[in-house]
Amino acid sequence: MILEANDILSLEQLLLDASDSLDIPPSRLKDAIAKYAAVGSYLAENPSELAPFRPEIYPQGSLAIGTAVKPLGRDEFDIDLVCEMAIPVWVSQQTVKNLVGLRLKDSEIYRAMLEEKCRCWRLTYANAFHLDILPAKPGVGIPHSILVPDRELHAWKPSNPRGYASWFTLNALRSGHVRLDAQSVRASVEPIRPTATRARYALQRTVQILKRHRDVHFSRHKASDLAPISVIITTLAARAYEGHPDVLTTLKRLLERMPLLVERDHLGRALIPNPANPGENFAERWHSDERLEKAFHGWLQQARLDLRKLETARGIHRVAADLEPFLGQRRTKMVVAAYANRLGLLRGRGTLTSDLTTGRLAALSASYAAPVRQNTFFGD
């Protein structure tokens, strides 16, 4: 489950542990998949009025690309789902949304968990996750693209979560150290139906750490409304990624390169195009509020400073203090504890070694190393 760095006591290991602690726990992920599959079945089976439209539920957003991050101060993960249906052209967005709502309200259980949002329906599983279900229909032109209601429920907007997930995954796989398994190769050729996943690759883990740093940073400045949206971070990160296998180098390089990848449109306004959906500009909201672009660059600059401090800190206690801007105080303590407990496991198994020349601790196989014998710390 937890990836191990070459040196399990290095800063790299600490960052791997950090991303792992931010990610959706495997048991909760399994549960979420089972729950949304159940919702999908419920929407599709008779006597659902949606049955003729053959609804299909699949994840979009962070869970589809393995970059989910625990929200600050909350227990529930936000799980974004598409409910794609073969809706006839004469059915309006409002009607589609209502039909989904009506079917869900038909179930006592779902009705109790249900909340209406402007475009989607939210099912809340307390202390676990929110399932946000967005009705959609197949798009035109680009294969696997979809049409989703806009915020006012007046028009259908093109979107392409499957295409985005494929594009992101292709970028995440860009590395000499990763085997391309059959599933990944297929993803590079044709967008498959995404399943919800945890982070596996350096790019995903680095995005998790960036998102969390953003959450902590803007929360501390009490300016959460200025925080850059996750899809901007994810898109620029994927474009900036150079294929490094480790999180530390990836983080350093992304923080340097991301600000340079914001383009300008023909009117000189900020442009971050959706690689899977031409015409969609993720930086659109920056046009109407100039604080947003400034906040984005200011945040990245702070992150660069924070990373430099983290890299040069000496003493695990100082490293921990410099990790706080990335994780928050409470989570930093959890991650350092997990990092320390790994050493305890080795000690218990008798596979902890020490390089006597430097005192450096390591898992068995360090050179000129001797196993550290069992001992019990004592004293008052």
Binding site: R314, G315, I316, N341, G344, L361, V372, R373, N375, D380
Partner: protein, 141 residues
């Protein structure tokens, strides 16, 4: 390497072994009964590098101190697993963790590294993750 596991190692043998693993370290002997060794320990790439001193007198337990950098403690709290906040408690005298037939170089020294690792973690999270016991809290057992 050292024959006769049943005989306690001499002070000179202990000092020589320490010098062998850390060639730049310093040993000072007082006759054949006593030695003081000063060397360096850095438990992880992220840890501070510490200068430690191990004193060993025949028929006594080795005594370990941290010379540099000075050990710190938040708000004057007692640092766990020390004797009088001066020497490191690296083993339980009753458990037989350490015996005079053992080389200090591959017992006390790595335990000091381990202690320093857990000490820095303690500074970071406020809890000692290295296990162990405190003699005064027998009521906890």
């Amino acid at each position: 390497m050292i024959a006769g596991q049943n005989r306690p190692l001499s002070v000179v043998q202990q000092g020589a072994a320490l010098k062998r693993v850390q060639p730049h370290s310093v040993v000072r002997y007082s006759g054949h009964q006593d030695m003081i060794w000063k060397g360096h320990v850095q438990p992880t790439p992220m840890s501070c590098e510490y200068e430690v001193e191990i004193g060993y007198q025949l028929k006594h337990f080795p005594r370990t101190r941290v010379l540099k950098p000075e050990l710190i403690s938040p708000e004057g709290e007692r640092i766990p697993h020390m004797y009088d906040q001066k020497r490191l408690c690296l083993f339980h005298p009753k458990f037989g963790d350490w015996r005079p037939t053992m080389l200090i170089a591959n017992s006390i020294l790595p335990w000091a590294a381990l202690w320093l690792f857990y000490y820095e973690v303690w500074l970071a999270v406020g809890e000692w993750h290295g296990g162990g016991e405190h003699p005064r809290r027998r009521s906890d057992l």
